[in-house]
């Protein structure tokens, strides 16, 4: 073989491998969407037809289980959590990146250590703390939006602090220095100079928080029981099990659940990927 021909074969092999990886990676997602367009009977026989999609499933799924409620609850809880946790972690991340203060190292260490605690360990204590808050202050916490938002905010703030800290640390210090010379206060410099330039970092952190809040399962199971506040991981279980076996609707609901996060990801991926990799590449 001539060198040119050899090079072409080499390229073809690489292209084939790439295509294989893409197909294998995407196949389960495609399978989920395909399955959501079949009838129950066909699925039970293991038949999938490509020619006759049953879009009806996407109408039925809202009536069979009150999925709209669960979707709304997930959107509200994840959305507000994202806003609150993003603000908290921006402030704390900036303080860690730019100020030396007593306890800064200890706080940084504590932020990372939270990732070491198995969630199951504080599930019951938090439940009892919530009961105690209700008894003492008359404020219900279990089965409420704000109870879930409080938990999720606390859960996803530490890693977000770490992402934002890395992001701020990479910004040139001259930005604030110039503003300070112009007579701004330190907080003013942060607010008017740094924050507007932080959109990519904020978006990356925000998407990170939203993905994680959308994904949370264990606390949602224990802390919510009524459909008024329960999130998707609770509602989606109702399509199969004791009373029915509607895999078609289950797959439709799974698709609907995946769509918001995929859209959020696709809209922001340009900033998200650079924001998420910036800190981790450097170590």
């Amino acid at each position: 073989m001539t060198p040119q021909a050899w090079k072409r074969v080499h390229h073809a092999i690489l292209a084939l491998l790439t295509a294989l990886v893409v197909v294998a990676t995407l196949f389960p997602i495609v399978w989920m969407v395909l399955s959501s367009l079949q009838s129950t009977a066909d699925l039970q026989l293991g038949r999938i037809s490509l020619t006759n999609p049953r879009w009806e499933n996407y109408r039925q799924m809202w009536a069979n289980v009150r999925f709209g409620l669960y979707l709304r609850n997930s959107l509200i809880i994840s959305g507000i959590t994202t806003l609150v946790a993003c603000s908290f972690s921006t402030l704390a991340g900036y303080a860690l990146a730019r100020f030396r203060f007593r306890g800064a190292d200890l706080f940084g260490l504590a932020v990372l250590s939270t990732q070491m605690i198995p969630g199951i360990m504080f599930l019951l204590p938090i439940y009892f703390i919530f009961l105690w808050i209700r008894q003492t202050f008359g404020l219900p916490m279990v089965n409420t939006y704000w109870g879930m938002i409080l938990i999720y905010t606390a859960f996803f703030t530490p890693m977000s602090i770490w992402i934002m800290r890395g992001f701020f640390a990479a910004m040139p210090r001259e930005l604030e220095e110039a503003a300070l010379i112009d007579g701004a206060t330190m907080f003013g410099a942060f607010l008017r100079v740094i924050l507007p330039l932080s959109a990519p970092g904020l978006i990356a952190t925000g998407v990170y928080i939203f993905l994680n809040a959308w994904d949370e399962l264990l606390f949602a199971w224990v802390m919510t029981s009524t459909a008024d506040v329960a999130t998707i991981p609770i509602g989606i279980r109702l399509y199969i099990g004791q009373f029915q076996n509607r895999y078609d609707l289950l797959m439709a609901a799974a698709t609907v659940t995946t769509v918001p996060v995929v859209v959020a990801f696709l809209l922001t991926q340009r900033w998200f990927i650079s924001g998420m990799t910036a800190g981790s590449v450097k170590g």
């Binding site: 704390a92 860690l96 203060f101 800064a104 190292d105 330190m186 998420m276």
Partner: protein, 343 residues
Amino acid sequence: MPAPVMNSGPADRAPAAAGLGRRFTGFGTHRSRPHRPAGDWRTNRLAYAMVAPAFLFMVMVHLVPMLQGVAMSFLQLNQFTLRQFLGAPFVGLANYRAILFDPENPVRAGLAVAARNTAIFSTVVTVLVLATALGVALLMNRNFRGRALVRTLMLLPWVVPSYVVGILWSYMWHRDTGIINRILVDWLHLLPEKPFWLMGPNTLWAIILPTVWRAWPYVFIVFLAALQTIPGDLYEAAAIDGAGPWQRFRHITLPMLRPAIAIQLLFQIIQSVYAFNIVVMMFGNGSGYAGEWGDLLMIAIQRQSFQSWLFGYGAAASVLLMLAMMGVVALWYRIFRQELIIR
């Protein structure tokens, strides 16, 4: 602990700011000037105010409940004493003794099985995730048409909610009608008859693969970004010196990737030891038992706590698991501390 590690701030530029006077003394990364006393209260006040909300939430939802969780592990906390919570009878180390050494205790056998599965599961998942991510990153680290699109598509599994991943794969693993058996047996004829995936020793693979499928794309993106920071001259110089592809990989690529590999290794270990969502959803949508080969520690602890009401045992097992993880992290830090210094 990995705390000081990821400190990747720019070199301290304090001298440039010296002329700005007193107000500026608060600036500077703590890493670069560790021995100076912290700034005065006036400059620190802003820093404390900015940290305060996050700190308060972390105390409320991490520190206090964790300490209570540790306290629970010394109590006889079960369905009869649950209402007293921390007022339940104090039994010292009895919970620990029971789950570690008491051969009569059925909980101990269950936890031992779960610990074995978790050890196999997290080792295999971590190795497969890192190896797949590295291999595909090397494969994709070249210019071809549609690269940006492919990179985005590859991340999609990572965006799919983990409970959806569990539901979806348990449906795909189904013995008679599941697509995996249809491909393996009906189409490719790789196996003589359809195996049960969600029963027996196969369960381990049935829970490992979805976990790897969802986890590797993110690591891949990190590795790909790291690969792109390696200057091309290094490879050219090595090629001129007669280094083959394997030698270039071994002596340039791997050393340059070591910091990224170190961090991702740690995250993967923590994530897979604490794995819960995907696996729990694969069996009865979260209400089933994964069997002798699919039960993981977090799931076993959750079952002991919330189905059998053995909260004291559950808390003791959680504390032990956390201590073991701290040991793993300390070991990791000893091995990789050289990689984590920013040069």
